[in-house]
């Protein structure tokens, strides 16, 4: 469970201070398929970054499975992310010199898995995202949709509790985007992994089981949908 308690975060851009989050409070249960929606500058990415422990709040607290994130130092946060969190980025962020298999196995290599386990898990995950035939392909040889599938496999291969996706379909055409969302939904159902993704695309919002809408750094709508 993720508990976000009165989180505030502001940035300084030149002489102006931008208040990205103005006291956000939110609770997310394990296994939710949640979308954080809102226009540009509403604070979606900031909230995602804070939940993903790659940014720190000015005030307020985030608890993940009861653990206060702000109490952790840089090294502890790195280990926490390594074990508990998966990330999917808008621009895929695959390592160009590694092939699909190596990109997927990257998070496992940081954990204490042996080579056999790494191979089995990575191959299985690539098969799940439908890329068993492209394991040796480098990102440059894959389409955008295929690259995002690799990124999803990379996020899920270590079976994290939470996967955070920042506008995962923004760089994809609508057909591929839908396929990616379907895949994420399937994974959420199969592994009970919490998926939190940001978007400003209504089509993507439709897929969410819960929709949290932000505006000017505040939650203006928190809607649960039956799926």
């Amino acid at each position: 469970m993720i508990k976000i308690d009165r989180i505030k975060r502001s940035y300084k851009t030149g002489d102006t201070v931008v208040k990205a989050l103005r006291g956000v409070t939110l609770t997310i249960e394990q296994g939710e398929f949640l979308s954080i929606a809102g226009p540009s500058g509403s604070g979606k990415t900031t909230l995602l970054n804070l939940i993903g422990c790659i940014d720190r709040a000015d005030s307020g607290e985030i608890f993940i499975n009861g653990e206060a994130v702000s109490a952790k130092n840089k090294k502890e946060l790195a280990l926490f992310r390594r074990h508990k969190l998966g990330f999917i980025f808008q621009t895929f962020n695959l390592i160009p010199v590694l092939n699909a298999f190596e990109n997927v196995s990257f998070p496992l290599s940081l954990l204490s898995f042996n080579e056999k386990e790494i191979r089995e898990r990575s191959m299985a995950m690539l098969a799940e995202v439908g890329l068993e035939g492209r394991v040796d392909s480098r990102p440059a040889k894959l389409s955008g949709g295929q690259q995002q599938r690799v990124a999803i496999a990379r996020a899920l291969v270590k079976e994290p509790q939470i996967v955070l996706a920042d506008e995962p379909t923004a760089n994809l055409d609508s057909k591929t985007g839908k396929a990616i969302l379907k895949l994420m939904e399937d994974m959420n159902a199969r592994y009970n992994t919490t998926f939190i993704f940001s978007t400003h695309d209504p089509m993507v919002m439709d897929y969410a089981h819960r929709l949290v809408q932000l505006h000017d750094g505040k939650i203006i709508k928190d809607e649960r949908r039956k799926k």
Binding site: I54, D55, F87, I95, L110
Partner: protein, 417 residues
């Protein structure tokens, strides 16, 4: 660790041209280092050998007051009983050759010379037999013959002979002072011209038989110095000190100086040249370091988002740093391998062929006691140093751009365009 190493190696192939150019910069730097080091080492080794064989000997027995006034070539500070000292040295199995070195004015007259003239010279009076146990002049005669005891004949250096227009059989006059300060004129004839590998001898040396000098200078058997020959590559300073300790009880008022003291000007010159060369090498390495640093900086700047992703996925800063340092080390390794190969190729040439400096050395004293072809010498230690230096240099220069990248927050890295 294995994974990080693998990732670093794969990253090396990411920008092949850049990796090759940077490694080439390191390779050229190291190649030049190895080449110059071998060249200087060869020149120094040959210089030292020529210095000991033709100029200073390994060590010299002197009157303890002589060294302070050596520039005046004094005949008052002498060794009165050189035979006894020589016998004692022979008992210690140290070849020894007595000499009397004195200064004088060399006068040449028109016919057979082109014109009248005179010049200040340093004359070495040598025992024609004993001198060859320490020095090697007998084999350097290029015209005429070697000295005979008791004759009023001299050997002169080939370049001096050329400058004077002298030939074997030409007469010369030496004006000097005896041990007691009286003027003395010695009429001599050139019996031989020597050309040895030590330019300072060819440029100005005059050799006279010791017994002839003894008579004219009223030395009464005394000499100004006894030159010693030590086994090659022995520690001359230590050996000189040990022999002095053994001799000092029986022969009061003497001291033994090693060639490093006798040829202090050369030792200082060699050290100065080494410092100068080190400066050049330092600049070469700076250029290579800038190349590596630039490559790593570009590599890191182009990969900020990737860096952000890796850190977001739980890679510790130390692991990210290690990956970049491995990558830089990889460039350094490639550069080192090719640098050592390049250095060896250049060394093959300088060691076997060398550079002919004879035309330059004839008219200019460059300090080294080498007259003709200056050859290099293999220096395995320099190869090892160069190899590891290339790798260390790359890793160290990559450290700073990596540190800078790691100072950025993960979110800034991910936002980087």
């Amino acid at each position: 660790m294995k994974f990080l190493l693998g990732l670093a190696l794969k990253n090396l192939s990411r920008y092949k041209k850049r990796t090759i150019i940077t490694a080439a910069a390191i390779a050229v730097g190291l190649g030049i280092y190895i080449f110059i080091d071998a060249w200087l080492l060869g020149a120094e080794m040959e210089s030292e050998r020529n210095l000991i064989w033709y100029e200073s000997s390994s060590a010299r027995v002197l009157n303890e007051s002589y060294w302070e006034e050596k520039d005046q070539l004094p005949l008052k500070y002498v060794i009165e009983n050189p035979e006894e000292v020589t016998v004692r040295l022979q008992e210690l199995k140290i070849p020894a050759a007595p000499r009397t070195v004195f200064g004088g004015e060399l006068i040449v007259r028109e016919d057979p010379f082109e014109q009248d003239g005179s010049m200040q010279v340093k004359i070495f009076s040598i025992d024609p037999e004993q001198d060859n146990t320490v020095f090697r002049f007998r084999e350097t005669i290029v015209k005429g013959r070697y000295l005979k005891p008791g004759e009023e004949g001299i050997l002169i250096g080939s370049w001096l002979a050329e400058d004077l227009g002298a030939e074997v059989g030409y007469p010369l006059t030496i004006v000097t002072r005896t041990r007691h300060g009286y003027y003395q004129i010695i009429d001599v004839e050139i019996v031989g011209i020597i050309n040895c590998p030590n330019p300072s001898i060819n440029r100005g040396a005059i050799f006279l038989p010791l017994d002839t000098a003894d008579t004219y200078l009223e030395m009464q058997g005394a000499v100004t110095e006894i030159n010693l020959k030590f086994p090659e590559r022995s520690d001359a300073e230590m050996l000189a000190a040990s022999i002095e300790e053994k001799l000092i009880e029986d022969f009061k008022g003497i001291e033994i100086l090693s060639w490093k003291i006798l040829a202090r000007d050369y030792v200082a010159f060699a050290a100065m040249k080494q410092s100068g060369t080190r400066m050049i090498l330092f600049l070469v390495f700076i250029i290579a370091a800038v190349g590596v640093s630039n490559t790593m900086l570009m590599a890191i700047y182009e990969r900020f988002r990737e860096l952000g992703m890796m850190r977001a996925l739980g890679m510790k800063d130390s692991q990210v740093r290690l990956t970049f340092l491995f990558e830089a080390g990889g460039i350094g390794f490639i550069g080192s391998v090719f640098g050592v190969m390049l250095g060896c190729i250049l060394c093959l040439w300088i060691v076997n062929r060398g550079v002919d400096y004879s035309a330059m050395i004839r008219d200019m004293d460059i300090g080294y006691r080498v007259t003709g072809i200056m050859r290099g010498a293999w220096h395995p230690k320099a190869l090892v140093i160069a190899f590891f230096l290339g790798i260390i240099l790359s890793v160290v220069t990559a450290f700073f751009p990596t540190r800078r990248a790691l100072k950025m927050t993960i979110t800034d890295c991910l936002r980087f365009q």
